[in-house]
Structures are given as C-alpha cells and as structure tokens.
C-alpha cells in the first residue's frame, strides 16, 4: 500500500472541498473495497478523507411518502430497516444477497454505489486494463470473460458493475443526492448515475471531482411482489453471474432490472411492457443488441430463465 495522509472531515461541504483541492484524495467510509484495492495498488490515493464522523447514518421518511437513506447507513442497517423490509423488499433482498455479514456491517450505502468492478484483469496489475490504466487496452476481450458483461459493453471494456444493492435501487427508481465543493446540491436519477464504459471506462459515474454523495432517496412505495434472484457459482458470498430484481403487480405488469450483465444495473423500461407476455419476450427486449463472448453467451439464456423463474414465483 502506498503511503497517504489522513483527515477526518468536519462536514459534507468540507469533505467535498478537500477532495476537490487534491486530485489524489479519496473519501473513505466503510473502506471494505477501497482498502482492498489500495493493498493491491490499484487505487493509490495520497490522501484519505474519512467521512465516518459526518452522521448521515439515518433513514428518514420524506414528504413525498418515500425514504431518505443517509449515505453512511451501513448495508446491514438498510437491509434490516422495517420500512425497507415491508415496502421495498427487493432492496433488502438485493443487499442481503451480496458480500458477507462482516462486510455488510461496515459497507455504506454510498460506498456500495461506488465500488469498483471485480473483472479479473482490473485486479491483475500485470495485465493491460483500460479501466485501471486508461489507454492500455482490454485483456478481458478475448480473455477469461465468463463473469463479464454481455450488453452495453464497448471495444474498450466489458467489465460489470458488481453491486447487488444498485440493481435493487434501479428497479425502485431511487435518486442519488450529492453536495458539490461550492455547497450546491444535486439530485441524480439512479438510471443516470452509473455510466456505460464507452471509450472512458475509468469514469464509472457522473460524479464530478469532489462531489460527495449525501443520501439516496426512494420514491413512495409501488406495492407489488418484490423479488431478487441471484445466480452465482456458490450459494453464498459470491458475485452474480446474473441477478434479477423485480417488482411484479397482480395483473402481471411490473419492472425488472438485471445485474451481472453490464457496466451498470441493466433496466430497459420498454422491455417491461412485454412482461405479461412472459420471460422470453421481455428478455429479448432487455438484451437487444447484446454482444456476449463465447465464454459468457450462456448469460443470455440465464437471464431468460432466471426472469422466467422470478415471474413464476410472482404468480404463485
């Protein structure tokens, strides 16, 4: 790990200003992903801004009938919150499907959104990777790609976003609230928050330099059955090959978002009109334009079958 200096932020705006003033600074909250990457020298900040003392750790009702989740609410607490379990079950389920109990106890809501890909070539510093070292090339294309993306990929990167929580937030139409170094705030729809790789896969979100996440808000509950199905190589503590987050109403209409297939939680609203016709029709629209590799072509079938299984469970 490279040496770094450390400070504790006094307020969100001070944290944002400190990060804006130093291009090599990083915020640290749970640290469960960042410290792992720092040990491998994939992340090499020279300064850490510890934001754990800022509060931002409560879940409050909004005037619109939804919930405002503080950026520092731990994954365990968000998943266990009674209101989330009752009205946003897909989010509880998604969080509980990820990581281990130890990690969820420290990982935060904002940190989970900002975690980096688990593409094996991003982790292997001996190999080219456009995400780790812009312009160096992509070792995953033509390489070991079983875990990697099939849709929304580019010539520069086929990595996937590893978060389960983000897939749950996407199906719920959550909003990310931020504060900039000049103390202005902004609200970013979760659909717009993560970027597709294009030719700049190292830029993963629309956050600007120093911009600090303060909360994630959930709109008022939409009812329906909330389901999260994660298919992976082990029964627990493994990243998704494919995951499906779904909110399905009694009449068969609903919403679905897919994890494990793209650089961001994958949701195509037009495909949801096909849901009453079944998984095949819906998944064809969802994966329209997919470019799987020979190693991960199975994910196309797996999306359809996992979605089929989820729709069947919703009907039962």
């Amino acid at each position: 790990m490279r040496a770094f200096t450390y400070e504790r932020a006094a307020s969100p705006v001070q944290a944002a200003a400190a990060a804006a003033a130093n291009p090599d600074a990083k915020f640290i909250a749970g640290g469960t992903n960042l410290l792992d990457l720092m040990k491998l020298e994939i992340e090499t900040p020279t300064h850490l801004i510890d934001v754990n003392g800022l509060g931002l750790d409560t879940i409050e009702a909004t005037s619109e009938g939804g919930l405002r989740v503080g950026a520092l609410v731990r994954n365990t607490d968000l998943a266990a919150d009674e209101r989330v379990r009752r009205n946003y079950g897909v989010l509880s389920r998604a969080i509980l499907a990820g990581a281990s109990g130890q990690l969820r106890n420290r990982a935060t809501t904002a940190g989970n959104l900002l975690q980096r890909t688990r593409c094996p070539y991003f982790y292997d510093t001996a190999q080219p990777c456009n995400k780790r070292q812009p312009g160096s090339g992509c070792s995953a294309i033509g390489g070991f790609s079983r875990q990697l993306g099939i849709v929304g990929t580019s010539e520069a990167c086929i990595a996937t976003n590893p978060s389960d929580m983000a897939v749950g937030l996407r199906v719920l139409d959550a909003t990310v609230e931020t504060m900039k170094p000049d103390a202005t705030t902004r609200r970013i729809a979760i659909a717009e928050f993560h970027r597709l790789p294009g030719d700049t896969p190292h830029i993963e979100t629309v956050l600007e330099r120093g911009e600090f996440i303060t909360a994630v808000t959930l709109p008022s509950p939409v009812g329906g059955k909330h389901l999260y199905r994660k298919v992976r190589d082990r029964a627990s503590y493994a990243f998704a090959l494919v995951s499906v987050a779904a909110v399905i109403q009694q009449d068969g209409t609903g919403r679905v978002a897919i994890g494990g297939v793209a650089h961001k939680p994958w949701r195509v609203e037009a495909a949801e009109a096909e849901l009453p016709r079944g998984a095949k029709a819906a998944s064809e629209r969802l994966l329209d334009g997919a470019k799987p590799s020979h190693e991960n072509a199975f994910k196309v079938t797996l999306v359809e079958r996992t979605l089929g299984s989820v729709l069947e469970e919703a009907r039962s």
């Binding site: 400070e7 504790r8 749970g30 020279t46 003392g53 266990a80 281990s100 420290r106």
Partner: protein, 211 residues
C-alpha cells in the same frame, strides 16, 4: 446497536470500558490536514480500546486494525489469512458488530470498543462459544477458529436482534434460528479443514442455552 452487550450482559470483561464508547465519535478532527508529498511516510497517533483496555499508539496511517492488534498490541489471536476480506480469519467485534479487521484502518476505529478472541474468554474462563467449539470439534488446525468464534458470537446476536439474512423466507416476520440461517450468515468465514457442520452444531448449542 450494541448487539453483543445484549447477548453478554453477564460478562464482566466486556462491560469494562463500555462507557468509553461514545466519547470520540461525534467530534470530527483533522488529524493531519496538510497532504504530505506523495509517497512520504505519514505517522499518526491513535488511541484504541481493545478488550476494555485503552492503548495509545503512534503508527503509520496505513496500519490496518488487524496489524495494529497483532504487530503493535501483540494480540495475535486474530489471524491474517487472506488480508483481503475473503476468509474471515481476522474477524473481530467492534461496538457489538463483527468486522473484517484487515479491511479497516486502525485510525478509523478510534473511540470504538474492539473485542478480540482474547477478550471473549481466557483459558481458565472460556466463553460459552469457545467451550462449544471444543465440545463439538469445531476446528482442526485452528487457524480460522478465532475468527469463526468472534463471528459465531456476533451472528447469534444478529439473529436475536432480528436482522434478516439471504435465506430468511419472510422479511416481515421475526427471524428464527435454523441450520440454514447459521450456514448463510457464516459464509464469510472460511474453514479449509472443513469443520463447518461441527461449527453449526456448536453455535446451535450456544443459541439453545441462551434460549
């Protein structure tokens, strides 16, 4: 949420120092506001409360909590397996919650109450979970055992506190103890000797005794 305290109210060693808990959490302080030149060594002072005892250290900012415990405080019960949060051998209990001590910096844990395997029990006064691991043969080589036991103690607290898991069938109902719940919740603790089923038996027995 002090889950561990609810579970272990009768244990004097865990009560010691419980009142120091909230002292440092609310006051943001700049430890070192001026970034030093890239790559330069940065030392910092940190005060850690471990097993009820306060320790003042001067350490490199890079020191993980695990390295502070093992290399500076010589509490070598917590083990370094993978050092990347994958194996769980470094699991300790902080403010009642289990955490991978390899994935948190020592300096981030100032003012918190840290409990390691050395604070759960002693050779002459074993923690019920330690006794149950011995009785049910919940280990072979023993390397993962301190992490398994810290995790196991905290897991029973999580179930008692009603925190759901991936295998909890109904999120709106209270969580009930089962083999499936224990296995899912312990998936962050790897045992390459494969003592898993005996660990489940040990935890089930302790949970039963607590009622």
């Amino acid at each position: 949420m002090p889950i561990l305290h609810e579970l272990e109210l009768n244990r004097r060693d865990l009560m010691v120092g419980g009142c120091t808990l909230a002292a440092l959490t609310a006051v943001p302080t700049v430890v070192q506001a001026q970034p030093s030149p890239a790559g330069a060594l940065a030392l910092t002072k940190v005060s850690l409360t471990v097993n009820g005892q306060s320790h003042d250290l001067e350490i490199d900012t890079r020191t993980t909590l695990l390295d502070a415990l093992r290399e500076h405080l010589h509490l070598t019960g917590s083990k370094k397996g993978c050092d990347h949060g994958q194996c769980g051998a470094c699991t300790v209990i902080i403010d009642g919650r289990r955490v991978n001590s390899c994935l948190t910096l020592a300096i981030m844990n100032e003012g918190m109450e840290i409990t390691t395997i050395e604070g759960l029990g002693t050779p002459g006064n074993l923690h019920p979970m330690q006794e149950a691991f011995i009785k049910h043969d919940g280990y072979q080589c023993g390397y993962c055992t301190p992490g398994q036991i810290c995790s196991g103690v905290a897991v029973l607290g999580e179930i008692k506190a009603g925190i759901p898991s991936h295998v909890t069938s109904d999120l709106t109902q209270p969580v009930t103890l089962s083999d499936a719940e224990i296995r899912e919740r312990m998936s962050g603790n790897i045992c390459r000797c494969g003592a898993y089923s005996n660990i489940v038996e040990a935890m089930t027995e302790v949970a039963g005794r607590q009622g």
